[in-house]
């Protein structure tokens, strides 16, 4: 019995040491990597931005930041995270600001169907795994999921569980830089095709105004704390039921934001029905990006910065 306990203890310690070393090695490499957008943003330090764009995939793929910067002579970045909800968007903005970066204007795209959700999306959830030892990340995620205690304190558990995102392949990629990230040097991604792949059925895009919009207002508080002017926008969609109900809903939402001195611009109807500019119901193709940037985004940033 004594021998069994001794051997088991020895084996357990061996395993613990091996996984701890692997954990340190992987974390070190992942923190240096820039493949995922979270890694890229996390590594940005002491930047002075005239403006930044925040949101999910819609704002990630809708704006030509390079052209805006060139035309207006400003410095801007796209901080949007694909597949994210306002919860992760708040966290990534918080981390960005805590790392010494400064923003004058924040343009935040809200998706009407997501704005009231207070949970972490399945898609963006694993993207923060390498930062489980960062108190800001850990404390934030722990309020949504107790598993983060294990992710933080059990060596290598988080990389084993999410090994499709953070496995040996990503480790090799962090060390050798084999794959380029799917966003450009200013943080934007553009769909590589022009054909429309969504439905042509008309849809309601109304805000559910009964929620408390917790994360939107947390972003607003963060902006106030760091002296950033926040403007909320709703980017164009192609299959919008643009009726009195929609207009009324948007006016109510605008009034709610105005009460907190947050500006709101609804672009939802700007290219309604123009399928040649979209890749699906809510995302532009490259043609749409160019048109929206020139028609609306550049004038918006220009007016905000004066």
């Amino acid at each position: 019995m004594y021998k069994l306990i001794k051997t088991s203890t020895l084996f357990f310690i061996t395993i613990l040491i091996c996984f701890s070393l692997l954990d340190v090695l992987f974390t070190y490499s992942f923190k240096k990597g820039t493949f995922f957008k979270t890694q890229w943003i996390y590594n940005l330090k002491n930047k002075q931005l005239d403006y930044a764009v925040l949101g999910a995939s819609r704002s990630l793929t809708a704006i030509d930041i390079g052209e805006t910067n060139e035309v207006l002579g400003l410095v801007g970045l796209n901080l949007s995270l694909d597949g994210s909800l306002p919860t992760s968007q708040y966290l990534i903005l918080k981390l960005f600001l805590e790392h010494g970066n400064k923003i004058d204007q924040l343009i935040f795209n809200v998706n009407t169907w997501q704005i009231g959700i207070d949970s972490i999306s399945h898609f963006s959830y694993p993207r923060f795994m390498p930062y489980a030892h960062d108190d800001a990340v850990y404390d934030y995620f722990k309020t949504y999921d107790d598993n983060w205690i294990y992710y933080r304190y059990v060596p290598f558990y988080r990389y084993a569980k999410f090994n499709f995102d953070w496995g040996l392949g990503m480790y090799a990629n962090s060390v050798f830089g084999m794959f380029k990230p799917n966003f450009d040097s200013l943080g934007s991604f553009y769909y590589p095709f022009y054909d429309y792949r969504g439905t042509r059925e008309i849809d309601d895009y109304a805000f559910d105004l009964t929620g408390d919009f917790k994360n939107l207002f947390k972003i607003h508080d963060l902006c106030k704390q760091y002296g950033i002017k926040l403007t909320v926008i709703f980017l164009p969609v192609v299959n919008l039921r643009y009726d009195e109900g929609y207009k009324d809903n948007m006016q109510q939402f605008e009034a709610m934001l105005a009460a907190k001195q947050i500006g709101f611009i609804d672009y939802g109807n700007a290219y309604n029905g123009q399928f040649a500019l979209f890749t699906d119901e809510t995302h532009f193709n490259k043609k749409g990006v160019k048109q929206f940037t020139n028609d609306y985004f550049i004038p918006l940033v220009d007016s905000l910065s004066h």
């Binding site: 051997t7 061996t14 091996c18 084993a160 999410f162 499709f164 496995g167 040996l168 990503m170």
Partner: protein
């Protein structure tokens, strides 16, 4: 029992074991494929012995590859939701149209990771299987605790790196 009896028994057993996995035609095909394989193996018993003597190592490698490929092929019928889906999968598998090739160029990291990691792991399994048959190696393994620890640790690390810990419902036996 004669050769025909043996083949009948093998086919029957696997037909039933196929059905045990689910009352669907794809499971029947899965079972029959295994039954047929066993029958063929039985019929070629003498010939295979001769080939093994004649070609040695190369025969072993080829037969391992053939067995693995055949098994993988049969799993298509096991994993599909219906016979139609399995046949459609096979049709797509051999569709070398430009679009599918184009898709290959845009494989993301996770898919490439599967390919890059899967092949060395299969080779590793073959090596361990061979080592297990070597009495000398087995004897060393049983005597040296450090070696055992190292191999067990290595195995656990492999599980950590390549195991599936998300969506466990995808693992078929968890569906029963």
């Amino acid at each position: 029992m004669g050769q025909s009896g043996y083949r009948l028994c093998a086919d029957g057993t696997f037909f039933v074991s196929g059905l045990w996995h689910g009352a669907n035609w794809n499971f029947v095909v899965f079972g029959l494929l295994h039954g047929v394989a066993l029958s063929v193996e039985f019929l070629l018993k003498k010939k295979r012995k001769n080939w093994s003597k004649k070609f040695g190592f190369y025969y072993d490698i080829l037969s391992n590859m053939a067995t693995f490929s055949y098994f993988t092929f049969s799993v298509i019928f096991f994993r599909a939701n219906s016979l139609g889906q399995a046949l459609n999968f096979l049709k797509k598998l051999f569709d070398f149209s430009a679009y599918d090739f184009g898709q290959l160029m845009h494989l993301d990291v996770a898919f490439l990771y599967n390919v890059a990691v899967g092949i060395p792991l299969i080779l590793l399994l073959v090596i361990f299987e061979k080592a297990e048959l070597n009495e000398k190696l087995v004897s060393i393994f049983n005597k040296k605790r450090a070696l055992r620890f190292a191999l067990y640790t290595f195995a656990l690390i492999q599980i950590g790196l390549f195991g599936v810990f998300l969506n466990q419902n995808d693992f078929i036996y968890f569906q029963f």
